[in-house]
Symmetry: C2
Subunit: 508 residues, 2 copies
C-alpha cells in the first residue's frame, strides 16, 4: 500500500535535487560520520571572550556561514537574538540559521531575514511571527524542516555542516564545560545541543552563569568548546519552561485520553518493562495520568519514559513506576530538578534519542508513544507542520521519530477543532507517514491502521468504539475550501532519513 503520494518536483530552487520519501529505510548514508576539526589547545589559553563582538572577530564569523543554536531555552531564549543582533551590527549577511526550534520570542529574526542577515533556515519546528513570515515567502530559499532525530542525523553525518555552534548554557565553567541543570536560567537537559557541539567547526558556550572550573555534571565537555561568552542574561526563565507544557487539561480532552489509555491496555502493553513517550500537551498529560493509575493499581514496573520530560513522568520515576527517565529535553522545572538530583534520570543526546543512522537509538525501544495531530488522513498520514490553512505553525520535532520507533504509535485528537475537521481525505502537509501510525483515538471512536491486524484483533476483543478511519473521516465532515496555492516552495519537509516527504508553499 502506497500511503504517501505527494507530487514533488525533482529539483527545488535553493534546495537542489529532491530524494523523495520512499519508505522508512530510504535515504543515502555516507560511509562515515562527520568529524570536527582538530584544534590543538594552548595550555594556559583563555577561552572566555569579553563579549559577542570580540568573539565574532576572533573566529572570525563571516557572511555566508552557518550558525547553529538549540532550543532548550524555548520561548525564553535570549541567545539567538543577541547573536544575530551582533551579526547585523557587524554587517554580516547571508547567514544560514540552524536552530532546532523557532519560538515567538525569535520575532526579531523576521527583520534579520528582511535585511538579508539571515537568508536560510534549518529547523525542526517553527511557531510565532517567524512561521508566518516564512509562509508568506520572506526567504528566497526554502526552509529545511527536519525531525529532531533527523537533525542529529544530518549533523552527525555531515549533511548539515555547521561553522559555529552557539550553545546557550545555563551554567558554564571557565574552560567551556557546559550544563543546563543549574543557573538562573536552568533548562535541564541539553540533548539537542550535543550533536552541534560534537561536530561544528567552532563551538561557543553562551552563559549568564560562569562558574569556577570544573562544573558538574558535564553533558557538553570542554574538549568540544572553543570559547565561552558571558552575557548579562541568556533568557527569561519564565519562558523556558512554559510554552507547550500545561498542567490543567480541558474537559473535552479527558474522554479521548481515557480511550487512549484503554487502547494501550488492550494492546497488552501495561506490563513490567513498559516504555512510554508522550508530549506535554493536555491530552498527552491526561493519558499519562490514566496509564499511571493502571500501572500503580497492578504493581507494574515500567522500564523507561523517553523524550521531553515533564513533572508527571518525574513523579512516576519517583513512585517506582519507571526505572529510568531518558531525557533529551526538560518541559518543566520538576524535570530540571530531577535531572540534577536523580541518578535514574539520564540526559541523552538527540542522536541517542532518535537518530536513525547510528547503532541504535532510544525511540526504537519504545512500546508506546502518544502523539498529536493537526490533521490526519485516511492513510494515517499526519500533519503537524502547517495549519489547515497551509500556514506553518509547528513541525515534526520528535513526532516522526517516535512514531517510527514505537511498537504502538497512537495519535490522539478531537475529530474537529472549530470549523476544521482533523480527520480528512488528505492532509494539507505530510509530516509523519501513515505507515508509522498504528492507532487513531478521537472523541468519536478509535481507528486502527489496517496494516496492524494484530492490534485490531486485540482491540476487538475488548469493549472499544472501533471504527474505520473512513468512517471517522465521514463523521468529521467536509473541510472548508482551502484557497488553492501554486506559490513558491517556502519549506521542504524532510523525513528523518533525509528524504523529502512533502513541501510547503507560500500563502498569497
Amino acid at each position: 500500500m502506497q500511503q504517501v503520494v505527494r507530487y514533488l518536483p525533482e529539483t527545488i530552487l535553493g534546495y537542489g535535487s529532491v530524494m523523495p520519501f520512499a519508505g522508512l529505510t530510504g535515504g543515502q548514508s555516507p560511509p562515515r560520520g562527520h568529524a570536527a576539526p582538530i584544534r590543538v589547545a594552548r595550555r594556559g589559553g583563555l577561552k572566555v571572550m569579553a563579549d559577542l563582538e570580540t568573539l565574532f572577530r576572533q573566529i572570525p564569523i563571516r557572511s555566508g556561514m552557518t550558525l547553529s543554536f538549540h532550543h532548550h531555552l524555548r520561548n525564553g531564549d535570549g541567545v539567538v537574538n543577541a547573536v544575530l543582533a551582533t551579526a547585523a551590527k557587524l554587517g554580516i549577511k547571508d547567514l544560514t540559521l540552524a536552530l532546532s526550534a523557532v519560538y515567538p520570542v525569535h520575532a526579531p529574526l523576521v527583520d534579520h531575514m528582511r535585511a538579508g542577515t539571515v537568508t536560510a533556515l534549518d529547523t525542526d519546528y517553527i511557531s510565532g511571527p517567524v512561521a508566518a513570515a516564512i509562509s508568506h515567502g520572506i526567504l528566497a530559499q526554502p526552509v529545511i524542516m527536519r525531525t529532531h532525530g533527523g537533525r542529529a542525523r544530518a549533523i552527525e553525518a555531515g549533511q548539515r555542516q555547521i561553522d559555529v555552534a552557539f550553545s546557550a548554557a545555563p551554567t558554564a565553567d571557565t574552560q567551556g564545560n557546559l550544563t543546563g541543570v543549574s543557573g538562573p536560567n536552568a533548562c535541564g537537559a541539553l540533548g539537542y545541543a550535543m550533536p552541534d557541539a560534537a561536530h561544528a567547526d567552532w563551538v561557543v558556550g553562551v552563559t549568564d552563569n560562569l562558574v569556577p572550573y570544573p562544573l558538574a555534571p558535564i553533558p557538553i565537555p570542554q574538549t568540544q568548546v572553543d570559547f565561552v561568552v558571558q552575557l548579562p542574561s541568556i533568557g527569561d526563565a519564565g519562558g523556558i519552561v512554559s510554552g507547550i507544557t500545561r498542567v490543567a487539561q480541558k474537559p473535552e480532552q479527558m474522554p479521548i485520553a481515557e480511550l487512549a489509555a484503554k487502547v494501550i491496555d488492550a494492546a497488552g502493553l501495561i506490563r513490567d518493562g513498559f516504555s512510554f513517550q508522550t508530549g506535554a500537551g493536555g491530552t498527552s498529560l491526561a493519558v499519562t495520568q490514566f496509564v499511571r493509575a493502571m500501572m500503580a493499581e497492578r504493581g507494574v514496573i515500567g522500564s523507561f519514559a523517553l523524550g521531553g520530560i515533564t513533572g508527571a513522568l518525574v513523579e512516576m520515576l519517583e513512585a517506582g513506576l519507571f526505572r529510568r527517565l531518558l531525557d533529551v529535553q526538560a518541559f518543566d522545572l520538576a524535570a530540571v530538578h530531577s535531572l540534577a538530583t536523580n541518578p535514574n534520570h539520564l540526559e541523552i543526546s538527540a542522536g541517542h534519542y532518535a537518530s536513525p543512522w547510528n547503532r541504535g537509538c532510544a525511540v526504537d525501544q519504545l512500546d508506546c508513544v502518544i502523539l498529536g495531530a493537526t490533521e490526519i488522513d485516511t492513510n494515517f498520514n499526519v500533519n503537524v507542520t502547517t495549519g489547515s490553512d497551509g500556514v506553518i505553525r509547528g513541525g515534526s520535532g520528535g513526532h516522526s521519530d517516535a512514531a517510527a520507533g514505537a511498537q504502538v504509535a497512537i495519535v490522539v485528537t478531537p475529530l474537529r477543532r472549530g470549523p476544521w475537521p482533523i480527520v480528512r481525505e488528505q492532509v494539507t502537509t505530510v509530516t509523519t507517514p501513515g505507515e508509522t501510525i498504528d492507532v487513531l483515538v478521537t472523541d468519536a471512536g478509535v481507528a486502527v491502521n489496517p496494516k496492524r491486524r494484530d492490534l485490531l484483533e486485540k482491540l476487538t476483543a475488548v469493549d472499544l468504539p472501533l471504527k474505520s478511519i473512513a468512517e471517522l473521516r465521514r463523521l468529521a465532515g467536509e473541510p472548508p475550501q482551502r484557497p488553492a496555492t501554486n506559490g513558491q516552495i517556502v519549506a521542504v519537509v524532510e523525513y528523518r532519513n533525509g528524504t523529502i516527504i512533502d513541501v510547503v508553499r507560500s500563502i498569497n
Copy 2:
C-alpha cells in the same frame, strides 16, 4: 636548552619513518578527527550475540585486523585472554592488539605472539611476562608505547585505526549501553574505553552482567555499540582494584612525601582552587595525606583532583577539600562506589583527561602532579618505561601528560633503589621530557629545574634542602655497568603529540 638528545633512526623497520620529538608543541595533526562508520540500526534488531565465536563470524573478524581493549579490569581482566583464545581457535593471524595497558594476567598473550596470532602491540604500559617477552624480541615489529592522552589523541585523530573495539563492561544492557559502576566486576570509570567506542569501526561490549534496558549511568551509549557478548565472567574482581594501589606506605617513603608536601606549600599552591593529581603508589598516597592535612588545617577548598582516583581522594571530596573529582580510572573500590553515588565525582574520557589535540583537556588545568620515576637524569628527563637493565617494565600511562599539563610537576623518588642509582647522567629510556618536570624530591634533597627560576626563588625563601640535580646525581653514585645493546628495536616510545622520544632495544 636541548634537554632530550636521543639518536633515533630515520626509519624503523615495521614502524616507518620517525618524526623525532622536538618539543611539546610538535607533531602533525590532521585537519579533522576520525569518524566512525555510519551504521543504520535495524529497529528490533538484536545486539546480544550468543558467544564470542558467533560474534567473530558475524562481523567478521579476519586476520590482519586491529582489535582494541581497555585496561580498566587491570590485573583481573579476563576479556583480552578470552577474545584472543577465540581468535587463535579460529586460526586468525597477524592481529594488532591496541590494549591500553598490559598486566601479568595477560601472560597468554606471549603464546599468541609466538604463534603469530598477535604480531603487533600498541599500548601505554606493559608489565609482567609480556613485557619480558617483548624485551627479548618476541615481535618482529616494534611495540608502540604511547601516553594515555596520546592514545586518545591517536584514536580520535585516526592515527590508530581500530577495526573492532572490545569494551569489557561490568554492566551492559541489551541495547549496548555500557557502564563500569555496577556488576560483580565493577571497575568504576571507563575513561580509557571511550575513545575506542567512539571511533572504532565495530564496537562490542563484553559483559558478565547483562541487565534490562536501559541501564544507568551511560558513559558508553548504545549509539556506538554494535554487539554485546555475555561471558560467564569478564574477570576477577580481586585483580581489578589491586595492582599498583597500596594503602600502607613504607617508612622510607614518608620523609620524601613530607618534603614534597612542603614543596607544594612553598610553591604557594595550597590555596582555594588548588588542583591535584597523584598516582596510587605509596609515596604519592603519603603526599596526599600531608596535603590533606594542610588543606584541612587552613580551610582551603580545592577545585579538583584528577586522574586515577583512590579512596584517599574520595575522602577529600567528601570532606569538602575538593569540589570535584575528575575520574578517568578507579584505583580502588571506594572510588568505584563514589563514582556511582556522588554527583561531584565525574567520569571523563581519556581525551578529556589528557589528549593534547582537542579544545582543552583536564591535565592543562592542574596546579600540581606527583609523579614517580624509575630513573631521572640531570636534564630532568624521566624514565618510567624500562628498568635500568633496559627491560620494559612500565610505560608512561598518564605520566607525560600530567607532567606537560601541570603548573608544578614534582617527581618523588629515593636517590637509589638497591644497587641502582635513580638520579643519573642519562636515563636508560626517555619517557617524559625534562622540560615538563619542575622539581625532583628525593631523600637526599630537592632539585628545581633551572628553567623554573620562579619556583627556585619561592623554594629558596623557605627551609628546604635544595640541591642542584648534578649534586643529587653525584650523591646517587655511579650506576653498575649496563650490558651494551645494539639489538633490534622492540619498542618506540611515542610522546603524547605523536613524535618519537626514544626507542627500546632488545635484551640479548
